[in-house]
C-alpha cells in the first residue's frame, strides 16, 4: 500500500510538506507507548499513535518507521511537525480513532508489523 492510498483510506491530512506519497508502506503498528513501538515494530511500517510530541518522531526515526499517523484528529505541536519535516518522515493526521484507523488499513490489506513482545 502506498502512502497515497493510506491517506485516502484514513481521509488523512498530510502535515509535512513535499512528502513523497508514492512511498510503499509494508505494514502497520498502533501504539501509544514509545517503548512498545521500539520493542515491537518492524522496519518500514506506518506508526499509528495518539501521542503528538516530538518524541514520536525520534522514536519513528530510531525504529525506521515509514510514516506517522496521529489518530483521533489530534493536532501535533509545531515542533513535532518541524522535526518530522527535518527527518523526512511523513506526518499524517486522521480524524478516526485508533481502533477505526487501524481497522480500515487492516481491512484494506495492510498487514500488522507488530511483533509479540515477550518478557
Amino acid at each position: 500500500m502506498t502512502l497515497e492510498d493510506l491517506v485516502q483510506l484514513l481521509h488523512g491530512n498530510v502535515l509535512t510538506e513535499e512528502s513523497d506519497l508514492s512511498k510503499e508502506v509494508k505494514g502497520g503498528c498502533g501504539a501509544d507507548l514509545m517503548s512498545d513501538v521500539l520493542a515491537s515494530i518492524q522496519p518500514e511500517a506506518v506508526l499509528l499513535t495518539g501521542l503528538c510530541g516530538p518524541q514520536v518522531v525520534r522514536t519513528a526515526q530510531m525504529a525506521d518507521v515509514a510514516a506517522i499517523v496521529i489518530v483521533r484528529g489530534k493536532k501535533p505541536p509545531q515542533e513535532t511537525i518541524a522535526l518530522a519535516q527535518q527527518e523526512g518522515i511523513p506526518l499524517i493526521s486522521t480524524r478516526y480513532g485508533m481502533f477505526e484507523a487501524c481497522g480500515r488499513l487492516y481491512a484494506a490489506g495492510l498487514p500488522s508489523l507488530e511483533t509479540t513482545v515477550t518478557g
Binding site: D32, L33, M34, S35, D36, Q55, A63, D64
Partner: protein
C-alpha cells in the same frame, strides 16, 4: 515540473532511490537560481539589424533566436520562425523590428528556476531573456539550460555524499594502529524532553555514514535512545553518552552521577518503573526501556550505586565472528 511528473508517478512503481532523486529535482527547481543555469554569453541584435544578417548570426552561432536590444534595453525577441516568415515573403532586407515579437516574457536572474519552468509549461515560448534587478539583459534561459543545470547539481550532490561516505567508511582502513577507535560524546541534560533523542539520532546517522548496516544502526539507535531517555527522565544532573566505534564492536555507555538505582534486578523487571505520570503521558516510563535495550544489544552491563550514579554499558558486535574471540567487553581505559 509537477505536471510533467504526474504520469510518471502514477504509471509505475518508483524505487526509494528514484523517489529520492525526484524529490531532489523538485527541491533543486526551487534552490537553483536562474542566473546559475542560464547562458550568459547572449548574442543580441538591434531593431535595425536586417533579417538577412540575423540569418547569418543564427547560422554561425547555431542558435534559434536572439533578444532584440536597443540602448541596453530589451525591446523584443526574434526567432527562427520569424526569419522563416521573412524568407517566405522574400523580405530578408527588412529590419528585425518588423518581424520580432515586441512584448517579451522575461524572468529575473535571482528568481528560482521554477519560475522559468512555470512560464515554459504555461506558454509555448522556448527561450526567456533573463534580466537583473535594473532590467538589464544578463542572459537567456532555455529548457536545455535547466536540464543541464539540474543534472550538474545532482551530480555534485551525489559526489559530495559519496565522498563523505567513502571517507567515513574507510576511516578504519586508512589509519594504521594497534587499536583504532572513534569516540563520540554527548552531554544529556535532565528533563530536556524537547531534545530527547537528538543524540541518538546523531549516533544512528554517524553509524550509517561509517558504513554500518541498517540493521546494526537500528539496534544501536533503539538501545541508545532508551538510554538517552532514561538519562533525561531519571537523573539528577543529566549525564553523558559515550559511543566508541571499533571495526568489530560498537560500545555505547550512558553515565550519570545520580540518584542511582537501588535494586537493579527490580529495575530490569518489565513493567516496573519509577517514572511520574507526566513522563508516562509522553509515552515513556512504562518499565520497558532496560528490557528493550537488553533485546537490542549483544552485551549489557548495568552498574549503579545509590547516591553515586549509574553506568550502563551496551555492546553490539559488527561481525558474528567477533563473538567468539571477544566474549567479554574489554575493560575501559579511563575515558
Amino acid at each position: 515540473m509537477a505536471q510533467d511528473q504526474g504520469p510518471i508517478r502514477k504509471g509505475r512503481t518508483i524505487t526509494d532511490g528514484a523517489a529520492g532523486l525526484i524529490t531532489r529535482v523538485e527541491e533543486l527547481a526551487y534552490e537553483l537560481k536562474i542566473d546559475e543555469v542560464m547562458t550568459r554569453d547572449v548574442k543580441v541584435v538591434s531593431p535595425d539589424t536586417k533579417m538577412s544578417e540575423l540569418l547569418e548570426l543564427l547560422r554561425q552561432a547555431r542558435i534559434s533566436g536572439a533578444p532584440v536590444v536597443l540602448h541596453g534595453r530589451l525591446v523584443g525577441i526574434v526567432s527562427i520562425e520569424d526569419l522563416i516568415r521573412s524568407l517566405r515573403a522574400g523580405d530578408v532586407e527588412s529590419p528585425v523590428s518588423k518581424y520580432m515579437t515586441p512584448r517579451v516574457l522575461t524572468v529575473h536572474g535571482s528568481d528560482p528556476v521554477i519560475e522559468a519552468l512555470k512560464v515554459f509549461t504555461q506558454t509555448r515560448v522556448g527561450r526567456l531573456p533573463v534580466l537583473d534587478q535594473a532590467d538589464n539583459l544578463i542572459g537567456i534561459i532555455t529548457k536545455g539550460d535547466i536540464t543541464r543545470g539540474v543534472l550538474r547539481a545532482l551530480q555534485y550532490d551525489y559526489q559530495e555524499e559519496e565522498v563523505r561516505r567513502y571517507r567515513a567508511s574507510h576511516l578504519f582502513e586508512d589509519i594504521v594502529s594497534d587499536r583504532t577507535s572513534l569516540i563520540l560524546r554527548y552531554n544529556i541534560k535532565p528533563r530536556d524532553f524537547a531534545h530527547g533523542g537528538a543524540a541518538s539520532s546523531n549516533i544512528k546517522r554517524a553509524l550509517l555514514r561509517l558504513g554500518a548496516s541498517p540493521q546494526i544502526a537500528r539496534r544501536c539507535g533503539i538501545a541508545v535512545y532508551e538510554a538517552e531517555m532514561n538519562l533525561i527522565i531519571h537523573t539528577t544532573n543529566g549525564g553523558i553518552i559515550r559511543v566508541e566505534i571499533e571495526p568489530h564492536l560498537i560500545t555505547m555507555e550512558a553515565i550519570d552521577d545520580g540518584p542511582g538505582i537501588a535494586d537493579i534486578e527490580l529495575a530490569m523487571t518489565p513493567g516496573y518503573s519509577t517514572a511520574t505520570e507526566e513522563i508516562r503521558e509522553l509515552g515513556f516510563g512504562a518499565g520497558m526501556g532496560l528490557k528493550n535495550i537488553e533485546r537490542c544489544v549483544d552485551k549489557m552491563l548495568l552498574e549503579s550505586t545509590p547516591g553515586k550514579g549509574t553506568r550502563l554499558e551496551m555492546g553490539i558486535y559488527l561481525h558474528p565472528s567477533a563473538l567468539s574471540k571477544d566474549a567479554n567487553l574489554s575493560p575501559k581505559e579511563g575515558a
